[in-house]
Each structure stands twice: as structure tokens, then as C-alpha cells.
Symmetry: C3
């Protein structure tokens, strides 16, 4: 792997932060405090990790002003070391550009419009009337359907499928195996059989959106499915037709959102949740892992479901009681009545 090197002054400049120590010191990668070597930069994003500052072999450390006194080596001093770590991590990322221009092995329709700065990988199929912006990277073996638009700076990793009429904004990242624009699950009963409802809407994705590996986002039935700016979706998420996800909402892996549901901005939905269809979730709502959401949430807050984990033996006994819960509650009521009776008598 080719690696990049920077002086800590260059890094500090990028962060608009202060250097303390040898500003020309060169680092060539990032590491945690405990495993860092002298040619590596580390960071303290949490006071819990201060304890490792005395023993770290890191060549330099990104550190908060309030932690500065705990460390005597080369330091980049800033307000938010975790955010600084995010910014610096991007300086060390390797380029995903496989081969510039349009690969000889790509099958690009004559009517597609591709920026000269875009990279189209081998085996890519670009169908009719696609528009591919500046500095876009489309990884090997992606298939882009007719009339798609891919905004400037967007990276689509290999083996992604976009059906027709999918609009992706600028500076998005779509990970391998994602499928965007497949048919929503719409059928009408026709006697014992299901009659397919053609899904005539598209998918509109804003700017700065990240979409995880093998995540699926279905096209709308009539109107579009919409993912707003800044949304981040982890792997293996299912977004059904006509869902609308508000700005900067984050959804962790394996969560499923059913059709026509509207999730507000700035929500965080943890992993493996199930969100039912045709509901609305208020801006700023947090849902904990593996929860089911079956009704609209009108007030921001933290919501949960489930029983929590137990050793199987105890759990089995409690599950039996769960099934008797209504009966147990009635017995409690009856006991209360009897006690009132006894006391009254």
C-alpha cells in the first residue's frame, strides 16, 4: 500500500490547530495510543484514554486543550480531537480511483453524458441518457440504469446496481452491492393471486449521503423515495418505497423501514430495528437497537422495545409468565379488591 506522509505542522494547518513540539516531525499514518509507533499520529478523544499518554510510542498526539498538561511529546492541540481525527483520517485515505477515464471494458450507452474527470471502472454498464458528474468514480461492474444522474464527486463502489431514474447528489458514497431503485413491494390482491403494481416513481438522494454495502432503497410507487442531504445509512438497511428520510439522520446496520414512512431530520436509529409503514417519526428521535416502531412518534425522545437478554434457563421461565401476563394482572386486581373487602369488613 502506498502511504502518505505529512509534517505535524501540515496536519495542524489543515485542522486550524496549534502545534506543540517539533512542527517538522513527519507522520505517515494514524493509530491508537496503545499500538502507535514513532512514525504514527494518535489522538485522545475521550478522557478515559488519557492513562495511555504516559506510555504511548506515538510520534505525535492530537489532544484537547484541557488534556494538554497530561502529555509532554509532540502534540496538535485542538478543541475536538475526535472531529480532528475524522478530518485527519481523510488525509491518509488511499484513493479508490482504479483507472482514470472510461475503462475499455465498460459498456457506456452513446446517449450517456460522462464528465471527462470521471472514472468509469471495468465492466460498468451505463444505460441511455445517464449523466455522470465531475470526479465521479463508478467502481467495476456497477450497473447504472437509464436516465440516472450522479452528482459531482460521488463515489460508487463496485457491484452496485442503480435502476432507471435514480438521482444521486454531490459528494455521496455508495458501497458495494447496494441496490437503489428496485421495485417497491406493491401488489393488489386478485382473488388468491397477487397482481403486481408497477413502481413508477424513482429515487432521489441528496448531497453528502453515505449508503452502506448491500443496502437496498426501493423506487416509489408513484412519487419518489427520498433520502435528504447528509443522511448516513449503514450496511444491509432496507428502505421501502416512498420512504422519506430527513437531513443528517443516521441509521445503523440491518434496520428495515417499511413503505411511505417519514423519518424526521437528525434522528439516530440503531441497528436491526424494524419501522412500520405509513408513520411519521419526529425530528431528533433516537431508537435503540433491535426495537420495533409500530406507531408514529410525535415527540423527540429515546424509544425502545424488547426484553433484554438473560441466561436461557431464567428467560424460559419468564417467557412462560409473559404469556400469562394479562391473567396475572387480573389476579392482582382481584387481590386488591379482596384486600379492600377484608379491610372494609
Amino acid at each position: 500500500m502506498t502511504s502518505k506522509s505529512y509534517t505535524i505542522q501540515e496536519i495542524a494547518n489543515h485542522l486550524s490547530a496549534e502545534v506543540r513540539g517539533e512542527s517538522s516531525y513527519i507522520v505517515s499514518s494514524l493509530s491508537t495510543l496503545t499500538s502507535a509507533k514513532p512514525d504514527q499520529l494518535s489522538f485522545v478523544a475521550n478522557s478515559r484514554y488519557r492513562q495511555h499518554l504516559g506510555t504511548t510510542n506515538a510520534g505525535a498526539v492530537i489532544i484537547a486543550l484541557e488534556d494538554e498538561s497530561y502529555y509532554s511529546g509532540n502534540a496538535i492541540v485542538c478543541e475536538d480531537p475526535y472531529l480532528a481525527y475524522a478530518k485527519v483520517s481523510r488525509m491518509f485515505e488511499r484513493s479508490v480511483i482504479d483507472s482514470p477515464g472510461i475503462s475499455d471494458n465498460a459498456a457506456v450507452d452513446d446517449s450517456a453524458v460522462v464528465s471527462s474527470s470521471a472514472c468509469i471502472g471495468s465492466g460498468v454498464r451505463l444505460a441511455a441518457a445517464c449523466v455522470v458528474g465531475d470526479n465521479v468514480v463508478i467502481g467495476a461492474n456497477c450497473v447504472i440504469g437509464a436516465d440516472c444522474r450522479i452528482g459531482n464527486g460521488t463515489i460508487i463502489h463496485p457491484n452496485v446496481t442503480l435502476y432507471h431514474d435514480v438521482m444521486i447528489g454531490n459528494d455521496c458514497i455508495v458501497h458495494g452491492g447496494a441496490v437503489i431503485g428496485a421495485d417497491g413491494f406493491g401488489f393488489a390482491k386478485n382473488g388468491a393471486k397477487w397482481d403486481k403494481i408497477s413502481q413508477l416513481g424513482g429515487v432521489r438522494i441528496g448531497d453528502n449521503v453515505e449508503i452502506g454495502a448491500c443496502t437496498t432503497i426501493d423506487r416509489g410507487a408513484l412519487d419518489d423515495t427520498v433520502i435528504e442531504d447528509g443522511v448516513i445509512l449503514d450496511n444491509q438497511i432496507q428502505i421501502a418505497h416512498n420512504v422519506n428520510i430527513g437531513r443528517n439522520t443516521a441509521i445503523a446496520a440491518c434496520t428495515a423501514v417499511a413503505g411511505s414512512t417519514k423519518i424526521g431530520a437528525q434522528c439516530t436509529i440503531a441497528g436491526a430495528c424494524g419501522i412500520t409503514g405509513h408513520i411519521t417519526i419526529a425530528e431528533g428521535t433516537h431508537v435503540t437497537a433491535m426495537s420495533i416502531v409500530t406507531k408514529s412518534i410525535t415527540e423527540a425522545g429515546v424509544y425502545s422495545s424488547g426484553t433484554g437478554m438473560q441466561p436461557n434457563k431464567q428467560w424460559k421461565k419468564n417467557v412462560v409468565r409473559f404469556r400469562q401476563l394479562d391473567d396475572l394482572a387480573r389476579r392482582i386486581k382481584s387481590i386488591e379488591d379482596k384486600i379492600t373487602d377484608i379491610k372494609g369488613s
Copy 2:
């Protein structure tokens, strides 16, 4: 996007329905009552939406006989407007045929038999002895293993993988990223290690089946995994080896069915359910979202599991009590005994 146009008489003829109003009126797409424009056709599938009939700008509306009096504009009058909407939606669907014939970039084995009316997309691999029927569409970059058979009129969207010996019937739709025929999860313990059991069965899929994006259907261990006619599977469903799914059963996204389970015909399984292996589910059973099914269901009905969602603060208190549930139940019993004692004394 190219669009299609029809007179409302043409649409009514297709539906065997009656026109009321200007039969030569032309519509070029479908929309909901509230967003429809004069060149669009809409529908009232639910009396809830009648309220919008007074203000809709739709050029024509598909309407039930009993709702006819609520609307004075151009109408297509029929018995089941939702089913009519399904049928009409298919008149407006755009063709997925990318380029007719076998793409220059496809790698088709000499022993494969491909109908002259089939469309084989760029980058497709068709292995030995495949048989591809009339009017079949195989999307770009699909890989079809040896000895597969794909029936007439079936559409396979891009980036789908079929392993060897997968049989798909007529008029099916397989969405992007689906994997059909991968090995079932079969291993024998050999000391501390797992010894692989080769999966020697195949997969048999009936006619008119729809399979969602990134859904996986494993091949059988010895016999085949079977999906019967008319089954509809949403995205990211997992069907393990030797499962059998009966006619017209519908399964929503992210549900997992473990090995050798037999789901009857006409069932509806909601999203994100888990169905254990080696059980039987009766015809016509309904399972609600995120439920676990751990035992055979011998009687049709609606089945559920889970705790429902709550604000996290209240939920946390209740979860603590769930873990004490067996103890609480014993205390109730003990109280009842004491009261009998007191009353008897």
C-alpha cells in the same frame, strides 16, 4: 424518460370497465389525487380519499361504482379500483429491455441455449447448458451457473447470481443483487472444527414469482429448495436450504426462514420476522412484523411476538420487571394463598 399515453377509453377497455365523461381524453401517467395534473389519471381505492375528489386536478379518476356520485369529472368506473390501478400501472411501466439480443460483452457458453427473443445484457456470464426462454431479460453483469433454466417472460435484473441447477419458471421477476442457489449452511462437527456438507440439491422456483433485491435463496442439501407459483418475496429475505414456500405466500423484507421449514400457501409474513427450522406453518397464516416463530403453527390465524415500543425510561423499568416475572408470578400465588388463609380464618 419516454412516456406512454392512452385515451381513457383505451384504459377502460383494458380493464373491462365503463367510461363516464370524455372517452377520448388522453392521460400520460398515473398520480395520487392530491398531486395529479390534468394530463394524469388517478384513482380512489379507499373511501378515506373521497374527500380529495372535489379538489383534484386529475384529468380522470378510476372510481368504484359506489363512489361515482362523489365525482363529476372524467371517470373510469369499476368494481375494484385498487386492482384496476395495479393493472393500469403496468400499462405505464417503462421497458427494462436494455439492448435486444446477446450483448457483445456477454460471455455465453457454447452449450447454452438462448431464445432469439431473449435479451442478454452486457457482462452477463451464462455457464454451460443453461436454457433461456422466450422474451427473457437478463440484466447486465448477472452470472448464471451451469444447467440453469429460465422460463419464458422472466426478467432478471442486474447483478443477480444464480448458482448451478437453479430452475426459474415463467413470468418471474428477480431483483438486483439477489443470490439464488448458494450453499445451504450445513456442517458436521468434527472435534472442534466444522466439516462442510456439500449442498447437492438445487432450487426450484415456480411461475409468477417475484424475488426482491439482495434476497438469498439457498440450494438444498440433498433435495431442492422450493418456491411455489405466485410467491412474492420482498428485499433482503433469507430462505435457507430445503425450505418450501407454498403458492401465493407473501413475505415482507428482511425476514429469515431457517432450513427445512414448510410455509403453507396464502400466508402473509410481515417484515423482519425470524422463522425457525424444521417446522410447518399452516396455509393462510399471518405473522406480524418482527415476530419469531419457533414452533409449528397448525391452525391458521394471526401470530405475534415482542413487547411493543415505549419511551426508553419506562421501558427500562419494565424490562427489569420482565426479568423478575417468574418471581412476581410466584409472589402473586403466595398472596392468593395468604388471602384464602385470612378469609378462611
Copy 3:
């Protein structure tokens, strides 16, 4: 399909087992006792199936020493018929080698090093500096990122995506649609927005690992995500960044493991479980289906969560009571106090 044939003596030799009956008897496939034909070999792995020995049409049966007396036909007698079945199943598996050598349609970077015994399928992209070992099979349309290493004897099925810096050991199997090395879900809050943390680690996979269809394994943030030798992962599993899975652990379909969690060796995690991030699970732990694990498990054992399934009508009543559970528990306490009062009075 081409089939393979063996005498039962050849099979017994492969198993180091004894033949009883006609050792030159030829079988050409495997089947269950109830559906086997005279040219097929069957097995009794469980005494439950002994009852079918009297009526089976199998040409020969793999049988345990203790069951031998129940069967008078041709038999292969061994200690562990289920393990024997696993070994024999592999003798009957058809080869997945599509076309030997590097396909004309593959796009192999000049700096990639590919063993002459490897098979690289059509449409495969091998990026710079990849190393592909002996007898490796890379299925059609796979994309292998820069600097990946694939050990001897490993089979990668079609449409798999490996990002850069993914190391796979010897004799592994990766199923179709899997994505290995996509970015972990790492972001830092920057006001209302999310700032991406570049994922600079890789993925290291040991020997004899099997990875299911559409399973996703993310690359590490700084260090690598690690899957140790002998691990078996079913379909649609999500392994987040910096997870470590110990030797011979088996995980069933649709389970999600969040970031930095360490699962010990020899665990079995059932399907559709959710395992939270930054925890440790003890060696030899078993987790039942659809359970959530939110805390470290320090002692091996069986763990569970959930309510179990019920008919919807009864379940609905019990769910209402679950939401009142803390209140019910307090009422029980209050009743107990009152009874003490009454008894004391």
C-alpha cells in the same frame, strides 16, 4: 448435470470405514432414506430415522455400529454417520471451475500476481498488486481491490466485492454477493452534520472460513477486522469494523455484530441476533435465535431474549400488561405490605 459414481468400497476407504455386503456395488448420488433409489447411497445419522431402514430403496446405507442390526442391505459401518455423510457429500459435489486460467473478459492489473492454477472468471476485476494463490477460483464478475491476498484453494463465488487490503487465508469459501472491506460506519459529529472517519484498517480472514451470500464484513477504522480460522458465517450477516471472531465460531443468517466486539472461539450464534458494539463474548457461548446481546458475556452458557410467539389476540393483551409491568410489580409489593399489616393487626 455430470454425476460421479463410486463403489461403496471406495467410499468406505475414503471414510476409513467397513463395508458390509457387496463392496463393488456402485452408487452415483446421495439421498435421504425415504426418497433414495437403488443407485443412491443414504445414511442414518439419528436413531429417529431407523424406522425407515426396513422400507428404504437405497442401494447402500451409511450406518453406525450400534444401528447395524436394524439393516440387512449393503452398508458402510462407521462411528459418526453424520460426519461420514459430510465427507461423502464432498465426493459428489460438482466442480465450480467455470473455465481454467484467466478469462479473456477479466481485467487483471499488470501488477497482480496470479497462480497459473487459479481460475479467474469472466468480468473479474483484479486491481493492482493482488496476489492470488494456487487453485483459487474467482467467480465471474467479482471485483478484487488493490493489495488483496487470496490464499491457496480458496473459492470466491460470483459477484463478490473485496475492497483493497483484504487478506483471505487458504481453503476458504466466499459466497455470491458478499462484500468484504467496505467502510465501517464511522462518523464524528460536526454541528448538525456527520464528518466521515476514513476507515484505514483492513480485513484479515483466516483459513477454512466460509462466508455466506450477501454477508458484509467491514474494514477496520485503524486496526483490522479479524475473522479467525474455521469460522463459518451464514448469509446476510453484518460484521462491523474491528470486530474479532474467534476460531470455529458459527453464526447463522441475518445476525448483526456491531463495532469492536470480540466474540470468543467455539461460539454458536443463532440467526437474526443483534450483538452490540464494544463487548466481549466468552468462548463457547450459545445465543438463541433473534436474541439481543447488549452486555459482555463473561461466562459460557446459553443466552436468550424475546417474548416467544403467541396468537395475536392473547399477545396484544399481554403486551399491554408488559407496559404496566413496573406498576404491577409495585402493586404486588404494596399488597404484600398490606397483608403483613392485616396479619400483624
